[in-house]
């Protein structure tokens, strides 16, 4: 038993943990060669850390040596920390042995940049290749695309990985220039665009030639750090929407900045991680992806910051009272799903159930609607809207007064999506 491998794992898992994505979903790679593993479309969390986050993948850096000096990153070259590097074989052994014991769904491999972008990317790709070809490994592989890596290497990565990601990290160009002077947006966007086009091209090809090899079947994702560069929620959500639309991203992740540096450009060590704000951003992200909202409806020039005390959907409803009340028994799905207190699941159930007869408040309750919130915005059988003339501020007061503390205190930790 070598102690060094324990040390390496400590250092390189610790350095990788600020990448919040741990998703193993979106791929359904089958185990067709009687090899090891497969990918589960919905993803699986095999454990949860004490901070409540899902542990699905073995998430490590190949190395934390880095030639760059991004202010917000623990691995920046000017930081005086212990450095380590795995060998290719060590990463392969850890992945296979963890996987066989059902600890993980697969590997999420990232790295500091050593020598140059291509040199680093080549190592990452060689590990994925070895797992796939030599070990017949069909589990999930997420590789980080190194900004500035050549098309050829990015292409190879797509052949072996399920998902690829490049983190934007800083939502605005100006912020990036200030905090990561060695980096530029363009180096990130070029491979992103290349991947997007390749994914579209291979999907088209597969429609004609079935045997076309898969190419990054779980798509690409990115991450933005929240609260490190003074950006507004408007910047973040607009950027997210831009990347969803123009780069077909599967996910955008938001990572509340954890202070790790005495650098004057950044929040000081000991300041709180903006977890409520992070949660509101995830809720907004859901509104973009599943609720048919446009970024402008959530944040805009007159309303550039998200409310921290109420969720963005309720906030939108209170600013748009002219849309309400909505008749539960008549309105179409798109309108129903926008009502506060009704989620995607209950909206679908409503549409299904009302075919068997008009719904009353009691029925809605059983379908999982949060009546406490929905009642200000709906009409249904036996229930007329009596709050329609109340102001948004009044209704907000009523709802907050009734809610549990999670909507009132800004620093509570227990948060849920809607």
């Amino acid at each position: 038993m070598s102690d060094r491998i324990f040390q390496k794992l400590n250092i390189l898992a610790d350095a990788a943990k600020y990448d919040v994505s741990c998703s193993s979903s979106g791929s359904n790679r089958a185990n067709k060669n009687k090899g090891l593993g497969n990918a589960n479309q919905g993803g699986i969390c095999h454990s949860y850390t004490e901070d409540g986050r899902c542990v699905s993948l073995l998430k490590i850096l190949l190395t934390n040596h880095c030639i760059y000096d991004c202010a917000y990153c623990v691995s920046r070259k000017s930081n005086d920390i212990e450095r380590a590097a795995f060998t290719v074989q060590e990463v392969v052994d850890l992945t296979i042995n963890f996987y066989r014991r059902n600890y993980i769904e697969g590997l999420f491999l990232s790295s500091g940049i050593f020598k140059n972008a291509d040199y680093t990317m080549e190592r990452l790709v060689s590990i994925a290749k070895k797992l796939r070809l030599e070990h017949k490994f069909n589990g999930y592989i997420h590789l980080k695309t190194i900004p500035g890596a050549s098309d050829e290497l990015v292409h190879q990565a797509g052949l072996y990985a399920d998902r690829l990601s490049i983190n934007l990290e800083i939502p605005t160009k100006e912020g990036l220039k200030l905090l990561a002077p060695d980096k530029n947006r363009e180096d990130m966007i070029v491979p992103m665009r290349y991947l997007k086009n390749e994914i579209i091209r291979t999907n088209e090809e597969r429609k004609i030639i079935k045997s076309t090899p898969t190419f990054a079947p779980a798509g690409q994702s990115t991450q933005m750090i929240i609260g490190a560069s003074g950006e507004s929620d408007k910047h973040i959500i607009q950027t997210a929407q831009h990347f969803y639309k123009n780069f077909n991203l599967k996910r955008v992740y938001y990572s509340g900045y954890v202070p790790i540096s005495y650098d004057k450009r950044l929040p000081e060590i000991g300041s709180a991680v903006p977890m409520v704000r992070e949660n509101r951003l995830y809720q907004s992200d859901w509104l973009l992806r599943f609720y048919g909202f446009n970024a402008d409806e959530i944040v805009n020039d007159t309303h550039p910051l998200l409310d921290l005390d109420i969720d963005p959907k309720l906030s939108w409803a209170l600013r748009n009272q002219h849309v309400f009340p909505i008749d539960i028994n008549k309105a179409d799905y798109n309108a129903v799903v926008r009502i506060p207190g009704i989620g995607v699941q209950s909206a679908k159930k409503i549409i299904m159930a009302r075919r068997f007869g008009p719904l009353r408040i009691e029925n809605l309750q059983k379908l999982g609607v949060a009546i406490n919130r929905a009642k200000y915005f709906i009409t249904c059988l036996g229930f007329q809207q009596i709050y329609a003339d109340k102001s948004g501020a009044n209704i907000k007061q009523y709802i907050l007064a009734q809610s549990t503390s999670k909507y009132i205190k800004n620093n509570t930790q227990q948060l849920t999506l809607f």
């Binding site: 038993m1 491998i5 324990f6 794992l9 400590n10 898992a13 610790d14 990788a16 943990k17 600020y18 089958a30 185990n31 009687k34 090899g35 090891l36 593993g37 497969n38 699986i44 969390c45 095999h46 454990s47 949860y48 850390t49 004490e50 901070d51 409540g52 986050r53 899902c54 542990v55 073995l58 998430k59 850890l94 042995n97 963890f98 066989r100 014991r101 059902n102 600890y103 017949k136 509340g256 954890v258 202070p259 991680v273 977890m275 159930k349 299904m352 159930a353 075919r355 068997f356 007869g357 719904l359 029925n363 059983k366 379908l367 930790q413 227990q414």
Partner: protein, 254 residues
């Protein structure tokens, strides 16, 4: 006359009961498994139902037309929940399903249907958790072994998942609560039963030489990825309920 039906405790057995209650227009008071203490009221006669595949097939075919495979799967989940009176709930719903109506299993306003959806949700959650929380230990002879005590009888629901995933290793998952396991020998799945209670010490002697190494590496990894500035015990315990901890090496090892 009210009747108590007694069946063999299997899914086909229960479906045979459903058939009989339709065919003979019986009024059912309770449905009980033959390994339980049979209880019946004063004015109730009991009837032992013999499982009959032909009858089962007829019920399931009819049901499939009404509620599809998905609907039948839901009833099977309710059966595996082993909840008290789940037999009657299944019977009542099937009676309801056979009434003329369009896609009746989507009528969320009906109390029984809601109840079924709720149970299906709990059983599915347990199934999902077992998929996630099984921790194999490698034995000297190459077998990957895991044991657990799920709340519901979910092993039948995870067989295919593990078979597809771990196609190139021998494995055994054992339900200590119900005292049976599923074993994969690289070719096929068999149901197995230990003849004596599991001896933990005996198991630990048989572990592969590398087993502890990897188990500790995993625990090590688990601790390293935690961000202590974000500590959230409530969420941690909600996602990873304490009753599973004794099976999770990352929570159990020191």
């Amino acid at each position: 006359m009210l009747k108590t039906l007694i069946y063999d405790g299997t899914w086909p057995g229960l479906i045979t009961c459903v058939f009989c209650s339709f065919e003979y227009k019986w009024q059912i008071e309770t449905i009980q498994q033959n390994n339980q203490n049979i209880q019946s009221g004063l004015f109730v006669t009991s009837e032992t139902v013999i499982t009959d595949d032909v009858k089962v097939k007829r019920v399931l075919l009819g049901l499939e037309k009404k509620i599809g495979i998905q609907g039948i799967k839901e009833l099977y989940y309710v059966f595996l929940s082993e909840l008290k009176n789940m037999e009657l709930l299944i019977l009542r719903s099937i009676v309801y399903y056979f009434k003329p109506n369009n896609k009746p299993n989507l009528n969320y306003a009906n109390d029984d249907i809601l109840q079924i959806k709720k149970i299906v949700k709990s059983v599915s959650r347990e199934r999902h958790r077992v998929k996630a929380f099984v921790r194999f230990q490698k034995m000297k002879d190459g077998l990957y072994f895991a044991n657990l005590e799920p709340d519901f009888n979910v092993l039948p629901l995870i067989v295919n998942f593990f078979k597809d995933r771990y196609a190139d290793q021998k494995w055994l998952i054992y339900d200590l609560k119900r005292n049976y396991g599923i074993y994969y020998d690289l070719e096929q799945i068999t149901e197995v039963k230990f003849s004596h209670t599991l001896d933990k010490n005996h198991v630990s002697i048989q572990l592969d030489d590398d087993e502890l190494h990897y188990s500790y590496l995993w625990k090590n990894y688990f601790d390293a990825v935690n961000i202590k500035e974000r500590k959230n015990t409530k969420l941690h315990v909600k996602s990873l309920p304490k009753r599973y901890w004794k099976y999770l090496n990352e929570k159990k090892l020191l």
